[in-house]
C-alpha cells in the first residue's frame, strides 16, 4: 500500500525541456513511473524522453488523462507554474524547484486554500512509492518496498535515514519530502494523517528540523490519537539563533522559537521516540515492528 502516488499515477512534467527536467524525467521513467506528458509553453508538439509535450498543463492533463504533475520550472517562473498546476484537472502537484521567493509562495498558499489539489514542496526531493513510482529527484536505488512511511523536510537526510532503514530490511510504503521552505503545501500533519489512513503503513518516521512550528503541530496531532507509531529525528540541535542553516525555513528566531529542543520535547511528550543519530532512528523502528 502507499499514499498519494502509486503505479497507476499518470504524471506530467512541467519544465520537461530544461536540463534538470529532462534528466529527471528520464530517471523517473527508468524507475517505472508512468510519465505521460510534458508541459512547456511554446514547446507543444515536441517529444522529450519519449513523451509528448503540450503548451499548457490543462491541455496535457486532458489529452493524457494525467492526475499529477512534477514541477522543474526555474524559481522566477515557478509560482506561475504552480498556479497553472493548481488550476488544471490534477490531484497532485509536486514542486521540486528550490529558491522560490517566499512572497510568491504566500500567494500560491492562498490559492491552495481554494482548490482541492494537493501540493508537495516546493524545494523538496519529491515523493516515492518504492517499486511503483517516483515523482521527483530521489535516488530510487536507496529505497525498498515495505511497511514504513517516511516524511521529511530534507532531501539528503531522507536518503541517509532511508538507507539506515533499508540496510536492516525495513522497507518503505511511501517516502515524502515536504521541503525546507517557510511556506509549503503538504505539511507533517497532512502526511501523518495520510499514513494513519494507509493500512500498509505500520510505522512512520518523521525527520524534522529547526524553524517554524510544524513539528510541534505534528506532535499535537500524534498525541490526539494517531494509532500508527511514529519515530522522530530533528536536525539542527547545534544551530545558533538567527542564522539560516541552508534551507530558507531552517532558522531559529532571535526569541528562540523553532529550536530543536522545543520540537524534541513536544514529540517526547506525544510519546514519540526521537533518535540522537539516524542509526538510533532505525533501532527504534526495528523495536516497534
Amino acid at each position: 500500500m502507499s499514499v498519494f502516488v502509486d503505479g497507476s499515477t499518470r504524471v506530467i512534467v512541467q519544465g520537461i525541456t530544461g536540463g534538470e527536467g529532462k534528466f529527471h524525467t528520464e530517471g523517473m521513467i527508468e524507475y517505472g513511473t508512468n510519465v505521460v506528458a510534458g508541459a512547456v509553453p511554446g514547446r507543444g508538439g515536441q517529444e522529450v524522453a519519449g513523451v509528448p509535450v503540450y503548451d499548457t498543463v490543462t491541455e496535457a492533463a486532458e489529452a493524457e488523462a494525467a492526475d499529477a504533475s512534477v514541477v522543474f520550472v526555474p524559481p522566477a517562473f515557478a509560482a506561475d507554474a504552480l498556479f497553472e498546476g493548481l488550476d488544471s484537472p490534477l490531484d497532485l502537484v509536486v514542486a521540486i524547484t528550490e529558491g522560490i521567493p517566499t512572497q510568491d509562495m504566500a500567494r500560491v498558499n492562498k490559492r491552495l486554500s481554494e482548490v482541492d489539489t494537493r501540493l508537495i514542496g516546493p524545494n523538496c526531493p519529491g515523493i516515492i512509492t518504492p517499486g511503483e513510482a517516483k515523482l521527483g529527484i530521489l535516488p530510487g536505488n536507496v529505497f525498498e518496498a515495505g511497511n514504513v512511511g517516511l516524511v521529511s523536510r530534507s532531501g539528503t537526510l531522507t536518503y541517509q535515514v532511508v538507507s539506515n532503514l533499508t540496510d536492516r530490511g525495513l522497507g518503505q510504503t511511501t517516502a515524502i519530502g515536504i521541503g525546507g521552505d517557510p511556506i509549503i503545501g503538504t505539511d507533517f500533519v497532512d502526511a501523518l494523517a495520510a499514513f494513519e489512513d494507509d493500512p500498509g503503513t505500520e510505522a512512520v518516521v518523521m525527520c524534522g528540523e529547526i524553524g517554524g512550528e510544524d513539528e510541534e503541530q505534528a506532535a499535537e496531532y500524534i498525541a490526539e490519537g494517531m494509532s500508527t507509531p511514529v519515530v522522530g529525528f530533528i536536525a539542527g540541535r547545534t544551530a545558533p539563533p538567527g542564522k539560516r542553516m541552508g534551507h530558507a525555513g531552517a532558522i531559529v528566531s532571535g526569541s528562540g522559537t523553532g529550536t530543536a529542543e522545543s520540537k524534541i520535547e513536544a514529540l517526547g511528550e506525544a510519546g514519540v521516540p526521537v533518535g540522537d543519530t539516524p542509526e538510533e532512528v532505525a533501532d527504534s523502528v526495528e523495536d516497534l515492528l
Binding site: 524559481p75 521567493p101 517566499t102 512572497q103 539528503t156 528540523e209 534551507h247 539516524p278
Partner: protein, 381 residues
C-alpha cells in the same frame, strides 16, 4: 539579506516614510561636518548588524561639535560584539513624547503576511511578544489584496495608539506593507516609531531584511549586498555560492543538503566535538566545488580537522570520489586531516577510488564524525 539601518532608511524615505535628517560618515571629520549641517542635538549610531547597539555603546547623543567629535571618535573603529564599526549614521535626534512599534513580517504558520502594531516601542519586541503577546495587535494580510486601510486602522486603534496620531500611524503601516511587498522583504520594522510633542511621527530606527531568493528581481538591493557581509569567510562563501555559517568550534564540516549537514554538525556535538561551521555544497560534487569548499574550511584558523560527508543521490559516488581526489591534488599540502564518508549510489566504488594517501575514509556517518572529532582532539592535545 539584511540591510543596514542607513540603507533601510534611504528606502523608507524614498517610499515617503518620515525619517530624521541624516548623513552617513566613515571618518570623525565627516561625522562632525554632518552634525554641524544637521544641527544639534544629533544621534551618532554605529552601522553594524548587532542587536542592542545602544546598550553596547554603539549609539551616543551629541549636543555640540565637541561632543559629536568625541562620540564619533569613540564609536568609529570600536569593536561591537566582534564587529568593527566602519561607518556611523549621524542623525537629527528626535524629541519624542512616545514610542511605538510597527512591523510587517511573514507569519509562517498561517502562510501569509502579518502587520503588527504595539504601543510598547523602543524595547526588544521579541521580548514583548514572549512576555505579553496581548500588547501587540496583529492583522493577517491576504497577499492577493495587500493590507486594507481598514485593517491598518483596526490594528492602530486596537493597539491603543493616541487618537491624535492614529491616522498618521495607520498611514505609516500601509506604506510599510506596500514597501515590504514591493521590495520582497521578509521583515520591515520601525522600532521605535517616535511621536513628537507636536504630534508628528518619525521612524527613529529602520529594519529591513530581504528574501535572498527574490534578489534576482531587486537588482538595486542586490547591489547593496556586498557591504552587508561582515565576515571575510562569509563573503568568500557568497562568492563560491555556498550556504555557509561560521561557528566557534574546531571541526570543519562539508556536506550536501541542509538537513544532512545540520545532522553532521549535531553528531560532531553528540560525540563530544565542536562544529566549526555549516557548509552545504549543494548538488553534485565537481572538483571545483570540492576544492572551493576545502579552501573555505582550511582558511578558518579555528579548524583542526575536517569531516566531508556526501550522500550521493543522483550524483554517483565514483564521480564524487574523483572530484575529491582532483580537488585534493590541487593543494600543495593538506593542512588538516580530512575524513571522507560517501554513501548512496556507487558509494563502494567511490570509496575504492578515493586517494587514501590524502584522506581517511570511513564507511558510516557515525564513524566518520567520531574519527574527525578524535583528529581534532589529537591536534589540540
Amino acid at each position: 539579506m539584511r540591510l543596514h539601518e542607513y540603507q533601510a532608511k534611504e528606502i523608507f524615505a524614498d517610499a515617503g516614510l518620515p525619517v530624521p535628517d541624516a548623513d552617513l560618515a566613515d571618518t570623525v571629520g565627516d561625522a562632525v561636518v554632518a552634525a554641524e549641517r544637521i544641527g544639534y542635538p544629533v544621534a551618532i549610531k554605529a552601522q553594524v548588524h548587532v542587536g542592542g547597539r545602544g546598550k553596547a555603546g554603539g549609539i551616543e547623543l551629541a549636543e555640540s561639535e565637541e561632543e559629536a567629535r568625541e562620540a564619533a571618535e569613540s564609536i568609529l573603529g570600536m569593536d561591537l560584539k566582534g564587529y568593527t564599526v566602519n561607518r556611523v549614521l549621524v542623525e537629527a535626534a528626535v524629541d519624542f513624547v512616545d514610542e511605538l512599534y510597527v512591523g510587517i513580517t511573514m507569519d509562517r504558520g498561517a502562510g501569509r503576511p502579518v502587520a503588527m502594531v504595539s504601543t510598547r516601542g523602543g524595547v526588544d519586541i521579541e521580548e514583548v511578544a514572549a512576555e505579553s503577546p496581548e500588547d501587540i495587535t496583529r492583522e493577517g494580510v491576504d497577499p492577493a489584496f495587500g493590507l486594507h486601510p481598514y485593517q491598518a486602522r483596526r490594528a492602530v486603534y486596537g493597539a491603543g495608539v493616541a487618537r491624535e496620531v492614529a491616522h498618521d500611524v495607520a498611514g505609516v503601516l500601509t506604506t510599510l506593507y506596500d514597501l515590504w511587498n514591493a521590495r520582497d522583504a521578509t521583515e520591515a520594522e520601525i522600532n521605535p516609531l517616535m511621536i513628537t510633542s507636536d504630534e508628528a511621527v518619525v521612524a527613529a530606527d529602520a529594519v529591513m531584511n530581504v528574501d535572498d531568493d527574490a534578489l534576482f528581481r531587486q537588482p538595486d538591493l542586490e547591489a547593496m549586498e556586498t557591504d552587508s557581509y561582515e565576515d571575510d569567510l562569509e563573503r568568500k562563501a557568497g562568492e563560491y555560492g555556498f550556504d555557509y555559517v561560521r561557528l566557534d568550534g574546531d571541526v570543519g564540516i562539508i556536506g550536501n543538503g541542509a538537513g544532512l549537514v545540520m545532522t553532521t554538525l549535531d553528531l560532531v556535538d553528540y560525540y563530544g566535538g565542536e562544529p566549526a561551521n555549516f557548509l552545504d555544497i549543494g548538488g553534485g560534487a565537481q572538483a571545483d566545488r570540492v576544492a572551493n569548499a576545502l579552501d573555505m574550511v582550511f582558511s578558518d584558523p579555528n579548524v583542526e580537522a575536517v569531516v566531508f560527508n556526501i550522500f550521493g543521490g543522483i550524483t554517483r559516488g565514483d564521480e564524487v570520489a574523483r572530484g575529491i581526489n582532483d580537488a585534493l591534488e590541487r593543494f600543495d599540502e593538506i593542512p588538516k586531516e580530512v575524513v571522507v564518508r560517501l554513501a548512496g549510489t556507487n558509494a563502494e566504488e567511490g570509496m575504492e577510488i578515493l586517494n587514501t594517501d590524502l584522506v581517511e575514509v570511513e564507511g558510516t556517518l557515525e564513524d566518520a564524525v567520531r574519527r574527525a572529532v578524535e583528529n581534532a582532539e589529537e591536534v589540540s592535545a
